[in-house]
Amino acid sequence: MKILKAQNALLTNWEVAEILRDEGDEYAGTDATARNRKPPSNLKDVMTGASLYLARPSQPFNTPTATYTPAAIAGPISLVARLSPKYKLTKAEYIMLLNVRPVNLIEFEMVVDEAGARFAESEQWEILEVLKEVLGLMYEKPPEAQANGKK
């Protein structure tokens, strides 16, 4: 074995969820290509675990109002295309904006290094608004009264 390049791309969790779903479909024969066969057991173990992790409701792209699509990740209307003309964010920060999906300033400062020094508060809110437009609303705590009133 020879490692030619240890790291040549960073993928978002949403992309990995899509890849694993396609892989599962190929082995199960549910992708209409008639390639169904038994997966190697070690592959099955890790895919089952990773799929379980990526299907958890705690993943931001699994909330009912999320709008993660290929166009949101790459291309002319992607998150990067929307934010990069105005804001300087690193690739790692984009990955975390997509994977962790901050909704308030505490969460924004959690994923963006020195957020307070790099961006005015109003700019941070602006970035969060773009996140909402591109990726959909996140689950947020329901208002207390409503939660008690219903059910």
């Binding site: 030619l4 890849i19 705690s58 005015a120 969060l128 208002p143």
Partner: protein, 208 residues
């Protein structure tokens, strides 16, 4: 958290696999060799991402095994230093908290990398954070966020080959539900900020 790694390797296909097309036989052979395995200094291999190059197969004498020189990219789990990751608490002990991602659970948050004021409740076997007016629990199975601080590689087969040391000190880390706000509260904070910025501008204009 997930990366692609390019590898070249001699891939062997057993005669029993000849019923498959070569693309599938090579893919399954690569997955059998790499899936769920740790490559030192690279990460935990999940599965084949794509096959970029492959030679003609050479049949080995006596065995009938076909050898193929292949170049391919693997999907690999390898968080970067400083990455914020969502997981859940698997178990706690008096030294710290163990976090799981379902497919990977060699993640450890030592007491020193938890907020100041945490204590271990030996009866409940959970960590507790005492704030001014309440006790907050790091319950098992709770969804948490942690920050990747360090990684440990190990070639001794008796120990995990790859471990992650995380922290939960900065705001927003730890159980996710501690930090949840209602949509109304978030919108109110945003409006307050915008109003503040507008007033600030007005004052500056006034000064000028």
């Amino acid at each position: 958290m997930f990366i692609l790694t390019t590898i070249s390797d001699l891939i062997q296909i057993q005669p029993e696999e000849f019923g498959k097309t070569s693309a599938q036989a090579i893919k399954d052979s690569i997955n059998t060799k790499y899936a769920n395995k740790v490559i030192q200094q690279v990460g935990v291999c999940i599965c084949l991402f794509d096959l970029t190059k492959s030679s003609e197969g050479n049949i080995g004498h006596g065995t009938g095994i076909v050898n193929v020189n292949a170049e391919f990219r693997l999907l690999v789990f390898r968080p970067f230093q400083g990455e914020i990751i969502i997981g859940h608490i698997k178990i706690s002990d008096p030294t710290g908290i163990y976090v799981s991602l379902d497919f990977f659970d060699d993640i450890y948050i030592p007491e020193a990398l938890m907020p100041e004021g945490v204590r271990y409740n030996a009866v409940e076997k959970v960590w507790v954070w005492d704030t001014d007016d309440s006790e907050l629990f790091y319950d098992n199975n709770e969804t948490v966020r942690f920050r990747v601080e360090n990684e440990h590689w190990d070639t001794n087969e008796e120990r995990p080959p790859y471990r992650i040391i995380g922290s939960m000190t900065i705001s927003g880390l730890g159980p996710v539900l501690w930090w949840e706000e209602t949509r109304e509260d978030i919108e109110a904070a945003r409006q307050a900020c915008l109003a503040g910025a507008a007033n600030g501008d007005a004052e500056m204009e006034g000064d000028a």
